[in-house]
Amino acid sequence: MSEFLQLFTQYNIIGAFWVNIQLTLWSALFSLILGVLLLMMRISPISSLRGLAGAYVEFFKNMPLTIIMVFMVLGAYAQLKLTFSDKFVVNFFWLAVTGLSLYTAAFVCESLRSGMNTVPLGQAEAARALGLGFFQSATEVILPQAFRGSVAPLGNTLIALLKNSTVAAAASVATETSSLMSTMIEFHANSIVGIFLIFALGYIILIIPIGLLTTALSNKLAVRR
């Protein structure tokens, strides 16, 4: 037991979780913005925009995240010189956020689209018939209802994002949980089960409230028709 507690003082486990939480929050923000944009492109009257957004979503939905992360480091950073900061740690953090955001945006778009399918066509027609333009109809009538209809899938996307944030290890974010876990196991091979349980428990503690919250929100916000 004492050895167990020692792990906590020797390694910054909480700090590692905090890195994953930060990765998740920033990526959630950017993927939400990008996802909404993609959705608006997908429902827009301009067919080239629809095609572009469709291609984006299909591409990232079918691409393993690890490959995207490796590309962010070896392609975007090493080859294309995409740099966010002179400090290595900061730079890799933002490269990871970029990769996670690009990837997750496809799933945000799909979640919102499933919410969109709960909005009857008549809502958009009524808006058009009153003289509202595409943008006004989307922002005033369609998207708010689509959001409320997609709380549950968006929650699932957020949970997947939090778990996926551990793939940031592939983008050389050395301070996050899965990297720390590997390091700890390397030096404390006899405590391997305990170490594993610490991290497993940490994620369960983070994820269960998200699930409960989105279920509650989903019921509360559901559009009554």
């Binding site: 809502q123 808006a127 018939a129 003289g131 333009g133 006004q136 009554r224």
Partner: protein, 269 residues
Amino acid sequence: MSLLEHMDTGQASAGKTSAVPTENDRPLVELSHVEKHFGKLHVLKDINLKVNKGEVLVVVGPSGSGKSTMCRTINRLETIDSGTIRIDGQPLPQEGKELANLRAEVGMVFQQFNLFANKTILENVTLAPVKVRHMSKKDADDLGMDLLARVGVESQAAKMPSQLSGGQQQRVAIARALAMQPKIMLFDEPTSALDPEMVNEVLDVMMKLASEGMTMICVTHEMGFARKAADHVVFMADGRILEKGTPEQFFDHPQTDRAKDFLSKILTH
């Protein structure tokens, strides 16, 4: 109080500024040689129709005959293959701002009400005046409450659409369309989705509107309304207008077999 009070000034000034032909010698809505296909299905066949200002036109016909489609072409919710549609002398614009402006002048009431489910009753009415007409929130609220009072649902203003009965929702939908001060109102089977006891409260509002001089095109099988309110009745079947006449002519002396057959079916129940 008049349902149309807010429209008086708008129409008077429109009359003054209009070009040489006055409002009386050109129809407010004119469809000529309109054709429309849905894929292989020929839904509108050589539709010719004129509706003058202040006129009430009732459109009847069997299900699938193209009544809804015709209504929807008038504010370009459906495009047409050929022919022309003019509103107040102007051909329908293609897309963009002009089309939005035109739609704002053509009020539409749907069978399924289609009130915005994420907005309160009052917001449903004020949304378009604020967003499209750039009316101030205060003015829009005043106008909205006024219109809700006229259709008899002002006490429901703060509720959500799902909390209202079908009849109340449809009256709100009428108020919402009127808030844009349209030149013409289109009604596509406005009472067909209602429980029988709610039909009259909606028809009463429509009667009032008609008697105040609103130009209306109503797809409806409510014979009582058609006889009382309509100036003309049009009978459609298989995408064609087969008969047009006064309500008396049409209901009492239908000319075609299709119309006789249709009337015998709707009058026996």
